[in-house]
Amino acid sequence: MGKKPVPDWLNSSLWSSSASDDRVSRYATCPSPDTRRHDSPPRPPPPRPPSPPPPPASESGSSGKDPGPASLSPDEASRQSQLIMEISKKFINVGELQRLVCQGVPDGTEIRSTIWKLLLRYLPYDRALWVHELNKKRSQYKAFKDELLLNPSEITRRMDKSEAVKSEDVNCKGSGLLPRSEITHGEHPLSLGSTSVWNQFFQDTEIIEQIDRDVKRTHPGMPFFSDDSSFAKSNQEALRHILIVFAKLNPGIRYVQGMNEVLAPLFYVFRNDPDENNAANAEADTFFCFVELLSGFRDNFCKQLDNSVVGIRATITKLSQLLKKHDEELWRHLEITTKVNPQFYAFRWITLLLTQEFNFADCLHIWDNLLSDPEGPQETLLRICCAMLILVRRRLLAGDFTSNLKLLQHYPTTNISHLLHVANKLRGSLPS
């Protein structure tokens, strides 16, 4: 069986993984997906500069601080204005929005929050319905919190009130024996019954402790999450509440370590919404978007499904197949010669949606692409992972087990647009 030749575009010097940005590649277009053209007027093609413009301020902020606003190049500015125009329309054309977002949401813009909400189907495409939808969802979240975040003392107090238990005013003056009353529903703190509120509370404490620990460890370098300020503390509280409500509403998967990492970028983006009302309600919005985002990836977190057709192992195998299809030499070298089992590196890439591999700002860019690609986040994620492997192919081909594993577990900083462009080229149906 003849070896498939390495495609020419792979051998091009463009794909060197050094951090020196090759500006030309940034302005390559992405192929237009099937656009469902409604009655919107034909759009002018995005203007392409004749020569590389001066490099804009670095998008990938240092990991020690929050990504700050960047000055925009003319091309980015035009993209930004197009995006703003698109989301300000009365009926948003989702295909058009996806196409625009694929090219990247420029940094320093504050529209990412609205865009992500649209892409995650939290906001309806009809602008007129936004206010109603938002209010409905936010009050629903508030009801969840009221119901699920109570401690048992308060629950029993409410039960007493509803049972109209006579509580004599034991505050009054005078002495004597205190009256004993019956307990409602057999609820007492040491109850071992499975339906007892107290028992359930103590069983949940383990999960809540785990959530607490993980929330405190989220992004320790970013002041947004781990400062000593009350702002950071309130952010951590919000993350905590969202994860606890999610765990209680989903007894199937509860909380798994790593969900906090998937939650963090969502909350960050929504909390930094320029609209004050939206920023104040970021917690509720994040909850629903988190549920939506996780709905596609739930099976990766479920331990019982690990070995099934939909579990994480199957997904990793798909990645392996994708690599084999596009770059058989690399695949052979990685898996067979150096025996680097994809589970060693791809597990974290896939379950945490690449949040741990790149710095925060780059991660937001990748997520732009993940959320906007019409093929869906699962397929896009696999393509991006495959692209990550292909970009460092030279180093991988030259390395042995130890060096390859080390490289893949500490993936080097790359130009993200590069990466996304390569991922784009890997489109095409996967043989099932």
């Binding site: 024996l177 307990i183 703190p189 103590f202």
Partner: protein, 190 residues
């Protein structure tokens, strides 16, 4: 929401072998934040067992305790409440409300927990509340042989306390509760 276990007068091994099994099955570590014990354990093994339920353990000396280092009285603050602890054999007449009220005023506490009579009681008077958790093993007392095993679990939540009384009557655990609120302390200039 702080859970405080109050018990005492176990008299192990002299008058009783162990806590009733039904009580022991309910008392698992990890649920209770504080334990206050009126005394008369009497041996170190009981102390260790209670310590395994909860690391924050407070004990006062009963007349049969083998460890002479426990104090005669103890006060502690949990949440908004000041609790006082004393075995009760020092207060004569045993179990008399007025004498216990004197002790309570002396210690300046909202809730006084004493034992020695091996009978559960919960009194209220102007100065505060006096709780006697009884004997957790049902050991006979200096006064009577007819003793039901009992102990008390307090749920302190802000200014409100719910006292759950656990008694073993005819082999079955019966739970009652007592609810009371403390008026917020008002600083009045005299």
């Amino acid at each position: 929401m702080v859970l405080v276990l109050a018990l005492g007068d176990l008299h192990i091994p002299h008058r009783a072998a162990d806590l009733p099994t039904k009580f022991k099955s309910m008392l698992v570590p990890g649920k209770i934040q504080h334990i206050i014990c009126t005394g008369n354990l009497c041996i170190k093994e009981v102390h260790d067992y209670l310590k395994s339920l909860c690391p924050d353990l407070h004990i006062t000396r009963g007349e049969y305790d083998e460890d002479a280092r426990y104090p005669e009285t103890k006060t502690l603050t949990i949440g908004q409440f000041r609790l006082g602890l004393c075995h009760g054999h020092q207060v004569v007449p045993w179990g008399d409300l007025d004498s216990l009220a004197m002790l309570q005023r002396q210690l300046d506490v909202d809730i006084l927990v004493t034992g020695h009579t091996h009978q559960f009681k919960a009194y209220k008077h102007e100065g505060g509340v006096v709780i006697n958790p009884g004997s957790a093993t049902g050991a006979y007392s200096s006064i009577t042989y007819d003793v039901n095993p009992s102990f008390v679990l307090m749920d302190i939540d802000g200014l409100r306390v719910v006292v759950y009384v656990y008694e073993l009557i005819d082999g079955e655990v019966k739970v009652d509760k007592i609810d009371f609120k403390k008026t917020a302390t008002v600083q009045t200039p005299h």
